[in-house]
Subunit: 241 residues, 2 copies
Amino acid sequence: MVVKSQIKFIKSLQQKKYRNQHGMFVVEGVKVVKELLASQITAHIIYSTDVEFVKENIVVAELISEAELAKISSLSTPNKVVGVFNIPVPIEIDSNDWVIALDDVRDPGNMGTIIRLCDWFGIPNLLCSLNTVDCYNPKVLQATMGSISRVNIVYANIKDYLNKVQMPVYGAFMNGEVVYKEVFPESGILVMGNEANGISNEIEALIAKKISIPQFGTKTTESLNVATATAILLNEIKRGR
Amino acid sequence: MVVKSQIKFIKSLQQKKYRNQHGMFVVEGVKVVKELLASQITAHIIYSTDVEFVKENIVVAELISEAELAKISSLSTPNKVVGVFNIPVPIEIDSNDWVIALDDVRDPGNMGTIIRLCDWFGIPNLLCSLNTVDCYNPKVLQATMGSISRVNIVYANIKDYLNKVQMPVYGAFMNGEVVYKEVFPESGILVMGNEANGISNEIEALIAKKISIPQFGTKTTESLNVATATAILLNEIKRGR
């Protein structure tokens, strides 16, 4: 049974403020909950309408009715399972590998795609500026699938980080060097900018190497979407290995 | 002034059935409408609350009130302009260049991103299976920005096309050859599959070369999103040129 205070608690986790206060986040759907249960991330409690699912995960799972599921779900079509998990404490960034740094990426779909890309390309660290969208935002989680458990995501002041670190710093710009000419080292930092404004001036000043993806079609004012550009640049960094 | 029948007409263009019946589509927002006005696509009528915008485009634009805009807009926050444009008649596919073929891509955001990618990488032709999401769907248009005017988009039976054409046919699969080894020709076809099911069996049978993007991280069951994979593969096709 789900009591009123629990409904209120779960609903509150839709907001960053309460996620941070409780150190927990909520995800929905059988697939992603299963993946998180199999990961390092620990579950606080799982609610499910599926008897089999509850049997398999008896320690943390509780059987609920469809009506109860509708009450705690934020989806218009709830998908059997709502899970509350503990937000893992980020570990220190490993500067012997690649770091992707996001300078105020705001769109949850882009953020989710970028986390998935880090997972795919084996990028262990994602450094996010303090104004980057929260990675435990439900829309981000929907786009990451289970990848969130396999990438170390750190929110910090990027400027401070770039100032103290010894790694080569790359940044994605419209007018940088053609990325195809670049021979990438074993470790480094790639900064990606905000959807509307790109990389901020104060961060740009700390970037050693500006890189670009060439435009092959009719030259237009359009740019590539930040998630799409990240996909291409991570592939470029890794394809030589 | 916008009369009732016009409101009904504009609203009807949210649906594929009426878009096809009238041969028209609707877009919203200053930026994309301006870009379409500057393109080959012809406008039927533009409504705007912005006097300057109407003055600049006097032949097709009509000044309306905020209240009228709210009535014809499908957005919760309407953005000054609603434009009705004529759907261009697709031209025959140029088989001396690259063709991207979509086998039942259903998500409007993915479709929009793929159109933008074709524009960026100078891919002139996008061939869509009959069950692929309509490219004049408002959500697709929102994701394409002005790119829709620069890519020739053809809806047809992909199987019939692949059967009659002489170009090399590539397809994106989880278990294909590593794409980095591939030397791509000047022209060819790249087939991308449905979000959940990939490329269908009947189309797979017509694909000469299966290609894959290697996974560098911990091997998981996840795949790359179809739009992300298209970004990386188009970059691979073009980066050698």
